[in-house]
Structures are given as structure tokens and as C-alpha cells.
Subunit: 157 residues, 2 copies
């Protein structure tokens, strides 16, 4: 993919947010061979943006490969890390997918399920734009923190 | 396997308990081709008993196959079904294993994690005897029901 094809501009204000930083950190964590070491942030986060044009090129039915799964994990790991940062309690993500890309993503804090999503068509995982991804992450984060606030005892179990 | 090699006798009192009945029901549920239709209960539940002799024949390190995984699922599905029967709320089991047989088994009721176990060496999954298996199941069940009793609001979420 040429530089010109990136769906995120390098001055996107979202790139300096905590969420984007955590996402990059999660992507680097799985980058065993250091391929991303010299990549700019927008290039590392670019595969998360699924524009209409990109989506059109992906078959409707398909099996997610390891690379896509690592992205899905990075997304939910980032949310877990942010939950942990906010509330100080360990948040554990859990991803359960069939080979066809259907399943559940779960985040637990103590004995509390703070996020529970049904996943479909994971082979087309992505967001319309970087800011939409951040919105989604922020929403999941705030709902999770609200649930923890309501049931701090269960979260601390 | 010859009939004589069964590790459960056909007059084992555990066979008539709710737990054993539910286990058999779960095993039949995954028996697509009806292979178990004419099997006695003790033969269906026999593979769950991992005697010392049987354990000795299994390598220390190994990957669990689909048959073993379906047994592990049957066990936790049975516990979920019993939780549901007792408290009237839906219990959802979730099994997350690496191909090497390490991972977690989780049961959630509403937003409450009522069971959370770390699994290891799943390729050697089994119990010393049928009554030990029932003990284990009963223990998990009573702990789960206790947690639900303590936090009924979270379980109902």
C-alpha cells in the first residue's frame, strides 16, 4: 500500500488522544519483529479504518485471518487497558470467535461483566473513520466505567 | 473399548442424579449422528473418568482434539443448565482455549461472572471417578448460586 492510500491524515487530532496512543501501544505489542518501529502512527492505525471503498473489495462472506484477529484483539485490549487506567482494577478481555468470524467479545473486571458484545463478520472488522473508532471506544469505556461505578463491590471481587 | 473396560458401573448411584442426567443430555446434544442412542448412561459418561491407568497412557504434553473439547464444553454447559434451572436466569458458558489446551472457562449470568476457571492440560481432561465429577460440578454450582444470591441485581442485568 502506498503512502497516498492511507485513510488517516498525519495531522488528524485523534492521533494524539489517549485512545489512539493505547491502540498504537497494543499494535506494537503484537509486532514481534518490529516491523512498525519506523512507521508513523497513522500508518499503524490505518488498517482499522474500513472505508466504503475498502469494504467493497472484501467478500461478504469470509473467514478472518490471524492479522484481522490481532486487530480485533488490539481494539478490545486497548479498551481494557483504558478501563484499568481509569478505575485501577484489572480488566480482562476475552474474545471468543468461530473460525467464520462470529462470536462474542467480553471484558470482565472482578466478577463484573463490563462489556459484552456480539461480533459478526469479523473478516470485515473496521470503522468508517479514525474518529468513529475513537467514539466507539469512548462509548464502550464510559458504559464500562458506569457499570463499575454502580457495582464497585462486584468489580472488586 | 470393550464393555469390561468401563470405569463406571451400571448401578453407580450417581447415574440417577440431576447432574449426571444433565451431562448425558449435553453429550447427546452434540451427538449429531445418534451414535449414543443405544448406549447405556455409564458408557456415555465413561470418557469423563480419567483413572490413573488411563492418564498414564496420555502424553504429558499434547493438543486437545475436537472430541475432548466437546466433553469440556458438555461439562460447563451442564453446569450452566443447572444454574439456569436453579435460579431461573440464563447462564451463558464461554470457553476460551489456545490450541495447546490452556485457557479459561467462564459462566456469566446477566452481568455477573458466576464461574471463572483457568484450564490447563485440557488434553487430559477428566475426573478420578464419576462421583468426583459430580462433587466438582456441585461445588461450582453452589458457588455460582451463592454469588447470584449475593448480587441478584447484577445477575438480572
Amino acid at each position: 500500500m502506498s503512502e497516498a492510500a492511507l485513510a488517516i491524515s498525519n495531522d488528524d487530532p485523534v492521533l494524539v488522544t489517549d485512545f489512539a496512543k493505547e491502540m498504537v501501544r497494543q499494535m506494537r505489542a503484537v509486532d514481534t519483529y518490529g516491523n512498525y518501529d519506523n512507521w508513523p502512527l497513522e500508518k499503524i492505525l490505518d488498517p482499522f479504518v474500513m472505508t466504503k471503498e475498502r469494504r467493497r473489495e472484501i467478500p461478504v462472506v469470509g473467514d478472518p485471518d490471524e492479522i484481522i484477529l490481532s486487530r480485533v484483539k488490539a481494539f478490545y485490549n486497548a479498551i481494557s487497558a483504558l478501563i484499568e487506567k481509569e478505575c485501577g482494577l484489572m480488566a480482562v478481555p476475552m474474545l471468543n470467535l468461530t473460525h467464520e468470524g462470529f462470536g462474542r467479545a467480553l471484558i470482565t473486571v472482578g466478577k463484573l461483566v463490563v462489556m459484552d458484545r456480539t461480533l459478526r463478520d469479523v473478516h470485515r472488522f473496521g470503522f468508517p473513520s479514525l474518529s468513529k473508532m475513537k467514539d466507539e471506544g469512548d462509548k464502550l469505556l464510559s458504559v464500562a466505567l458506569e457499570i463499575i461505578g454502580q457495582h464497585p463491590k462486584v468489580a472488586g471481587m
